[in-house]
């Protein structure tokens, strides 16, 4: 992309930039390449969904983006700054909330922990944590312990903790995978509300193609072995969405089909390159 093209598209720099990122694990016998030459951008206040088959390397990618893991090649920038350790401007909501919340701390202490690490005074950080709990719809469980809450409520606590230090970028790894359907809808709407209210950029990993269409401004399809970006699809629904009306929109079904075809097509093209031509007709 030339500089001029870049400026025509967006004036400000992307919130998150991933440049030719590769990750190879040192396996017990042979090294295992998981990610290969992966490029990705997330703009400020953009909601990007990352989909891909199980084991393709989504969690690995998020770990590299969050500075928890050093990629073998390539670079990650958050807000323009090169990521070498977990950046202050970025928060993570982990795949397994029951393990990422600390059971020995009350809910409010869990949420306030990032501020405590920064040395914010007790009264101030508890007030801020309480405010965040209100924001995610958990006003009356501050004094309880995470394990006394339902799965959906625990995930809200994890989201409140991720937001407490006002990050500019939020990474979420299959955050709503293990809750019931209604809770899932509520949490999806919560994610949309948070993006609208705080202007945070969100990169959300999901297995659920419907969820990616409902939430994302763009959908990034990851595939291959080692994996890279197969396709990026735009979703035209804007910032305000509604579980019933958005999902009933004819374009919703179209995009869903397209994502599905891209995921399966990418798998096929790997097995039989000849069939790749057919895919272009669909896309």
């Amino acid at each position: 992309m030339t500089n001029a093209a870049h400026h025509r598209k967006e004036v400000t720099r992307p919130m998150l930039e991933v440049r030719s990122l590769s990750m190879t694990y040192a396996g017990p016998e042979s090294p295992r390449a998981v990610l290969d030459d992966l490029n990705l951008e997330v703009a400020a206040s953009e909601f990007v969904c990352l989909v891909g088959p199980s084991g393709v390397g989504k969690t690995t990618l998020l770990r590299c983006l969050s500075g928890l893991q050093r990629p073998t090649h390539g670079e990650v920038r958050v807000g323009g700054g090169l990521v070498v350790e977990p950046p202050a401007a970025l928060s993570v909501v982990f795949q397994d909330y029951s393990r990422s919340l600390f059971p020995w701390m009350s809910v409010v202490d869990n949420v306030a922990l990032p501020l405590r690490a920064q040395g914010v005074k007790r009264a101030k950080r508890l007030a801020r944590a309480a405010e965040m709990l209100d924001e995610v719809g958990l006003a009356d469980v501050r004094k309880q312990y995470p394990w006394q809450l339902s799965g959906g409520m625990q995930q809200r606590v994890a989201i409140a903790r991720a937001l407490v230090d006002a990050p500019q970028m939020l990474l979420m790894d299959e955050p709503f995978a293990s809750v019931d359907a209604q809770t899932r809808f509520d949490l999806e709407d919560l994610a949309l509300t948070i993006r609208r209210d705080t202007g945070v950029s969100i990169l959300l990993v999901t297995h659920d193609i419907d969820e990616s269409v409902y939430l994302g401004d763009r959908i990034v399809v990851l595939s291959g072995r080692p994996a890279s970006v197969a396709t990026i699809l735009d979703v035209p629904f804007g910032h305000r969405r509604d579980q019933i009306r958005t999902r009933a929109d004819p374009r919703f079904a179209e995009i869903r089909t397209e994502v599905l075809v891209r995921i399966q097509g990418a798998g096929e093209s790997e097995a039989a390159p000849a069939s790749a031509a057919n895919l272009d007709l669909v896309g």
């Binding site: 969050s66 977990p86 982990f94 990422s100 600390f102 020995w104 922990l113 990032p114 690490a117 394990w147």
Partner: protein, 286 residues
């Protein structure tokens, strides 16, 4: 199953098959939670057996006449010893150093354990040394230690720490090494410093292991204290036991010996309670 019920029972009740609980398997029976009354009853039975066995040993004059006093005699001695004027100070001479030693064991053991558990190379390189050092028989050097440290509280504390710190160190190492990697990643992504992560994540997560180590070390420390008192002649319950034994006052000796054993029960049960309280957040206690 219904045929069996019909042929064997003389008065077949309608629907008995459904109402009648199926017989419990052995595993279920072995694991079921007994009622509090059952537990009390069983405890009474076991205590009675113990007393009968004791009285039997007394009647058979095991170890020579007068070695084992009668049950009523021992109860009398226990009452006499514990109500004596100097008893509280003798008890404190044992409990005080025990407590001091234990505090050092906990603080030192956890600190060493955290360092060795955090740094793989430190653990790998010291493991054999630890096994070597903790296999050292302390009894062997008590006479020597009396010369250098004197007949003192210091002597007791040194021996408590030297022998009882190891369960603490080893338990802490295991605990630190089994902290959930997701917890560690969460701590890192929240930008906790190393020291913050130790205090707020690693140590709390290690608490179940530390509590077990503490329970083991506490009882062990009591035995060591009494042992040092006996062998080194330092004032305390152990010395009283040794003195009265040497003087041929076997009944009084038993009074002190039983006091020491009861202290062991109190310590063990007390630390179990403390463990449950400190770990009320832990999965095993919910």
């Amino acid at each position: 199953m219904s045929t069996t019920a019909e042929t064997t029972s003389t008065r077949p009740t309608p629907g008995a098959d459904e109402i009648e609980p199926r017989s419990r398997t052995f595993a279920e029976w072995a694991q079921h939670e007994p009622s509090f009354r059952t537990v009390l009853g069983l405890r009474a039975v076991i205590l009675a057996c113990l007393l009968v066995a004791w009285q039997l040993l007394h009647a058979l004059e095991v170890g020579g006449p007068g070695t084992i006093p009668s049950v009523p005699g021992v109860v009398r001695e226990l009452a006499a010893v514990t109500t004596e004027a100097g008893f509280a100070s003798v008890l404190w001479q044992t409990v005080g150093p025990w407590l001091l030693g234990l505090v050092i064991v906990v603080v030192g053991g956890v600190a060493i354990g955290v360092v060795l558990g955090t740094f793989s190379f430190a653990y790998r390189s010291t493991r054999a040394t630890i096994d070597f050092v903790r296999s050292f028989p302390p009894v062997a050097v008590i006479p020597l230690a009396v010369l250098t440290l004197g007949v003192s509280t210091k002597l007791k504390v040194v021996f408590i720490v030297a022998t009882c710190i190891w369960p603490m160190v080893l338990q802490t190492i295991v605990g630190v090494r089994s902290v959930d990697p997701i917890s560690r990643q969460a701590a890192r992504s929240m930008r906790l410093s190393w020291w913050q992560a130790v205090r707020w994540v690693v140590l709390p997560a290690t608490m179940p292991y530390v509590a077990t180590g503490l329970r083991i070390s506490a009882v062990m420390a009591l035995l060591v204290t009494i042992g040092v008192e006996i062998l080194g002649g330092v004032a305390g319950l152990g010395q009283s036991i040794a003195t009265f034994e040497a003087a041929g006052d076997v009944d009084t000796m038993w009074g002190y010996l039983l006091t020491a054993m009861l202290l062991g029960v109190i310590v063990s049960q007390g630390f179990s309670r403390l463990e449950r309280f400190a770990l009320r957040w832990h999965a095993s206690q919910r």
